[in-house]
Symmetry: C2
Subunit: 124 residues, 2 copies
DNA sequence: TAGTTATATGAGCATTTATTCAAGTGTTTT
DNA sequence: AAAACACTTGAATAAATGCTCATATAACTA
């Protein structure tokens, strides 16, 4: 009854597997950008944003075109484009009244593809 | 004043860019698994889960080892391992009282790597 | 059998997030 | 200059999410 279940206490495993834990600790330190990585994937982890990216991979498009394509309001699309721009996944170009959006670079496609490989393996 | 701002109405662009929009529409139909893809990236889009995956890439580990490594409660880790397992990113193996978790396959690493490439490009 | 250890799980709570609504900016047209 | 158009933005709201706490389960141990 003295044991507090919800505290971060060491258990016997931690001692038994000490070398494994320390090894993993080194690996964690090695990659300090794991938080940035999570932020990047968070941007991909929304169906609206991923559909925008997928559409832009075909062609440069303006906000209202994307809106009708995804059957959503311009406002909603504009908000999400802002997120995508902050993540440096898309860039924009103004031509008069119209603002055209396109993919920032080619990595986007590669991140997509790796994900799709996993999806297709899953459904086997 | 008759214009409703927040409805999904066609604008002049949609007519002017008709072929581009239709082309993109074909591309959307082509990949009906975009929602699954978003779900996958959503799992990667959390720092706790991505650190778990990163740790497991080094070695198979039990729940309490991961907990001390990330300085979090066993409960929190267990909840996240459940999410990772449902996404088929990790698998588990029981050995007496202890449950060992490991990566389901090698795609995980590749998805990681693509993300890291983007991160490193960004910070240039 | 009772107690301990390792893990899982359901409910509750606080935070984040995606969308909507309303109002704004910037550009073109009349 | 005024109206129309394409887009942006801030506030509000509803839904989703991650963690905590308490409890449950499963395996081992005394």
């Amino acid at each position: 009854m003295t044991k507090k279940f919800n505290s971060i206490e060491r258990c016997d495993c931690n001692v038994i597997h000490e070398d494994i834990v320390n090894q993993a600790r080194d690996k964690m330190a090695q990659e300090e950008s794991l938080y940035d990585l999570a932020e990047l994937f968070k941007v991909f982890g929304d169906s609206t944003r991923i559909r925008i990216l997928w559409a832009l991979h075909e062609a440069e498009m303006c906000v209202c075109d994307i809106a009708v394509l995804l059957n959503m309001t311009q406002s909603a699309i504009s908000h999400q484009l802002r997120v995508l721009k902050q993540a440096e996944l898309v860039k924009s170009r103004r031509e008069g009244k119209i603002v055209f959006y396109s993919l920032e670079d080619e990595h986007v496609k590669q991140i997509f593809d790796q994900g799709l490989i996993h999806i297709s393996e899953e459904s086997k």
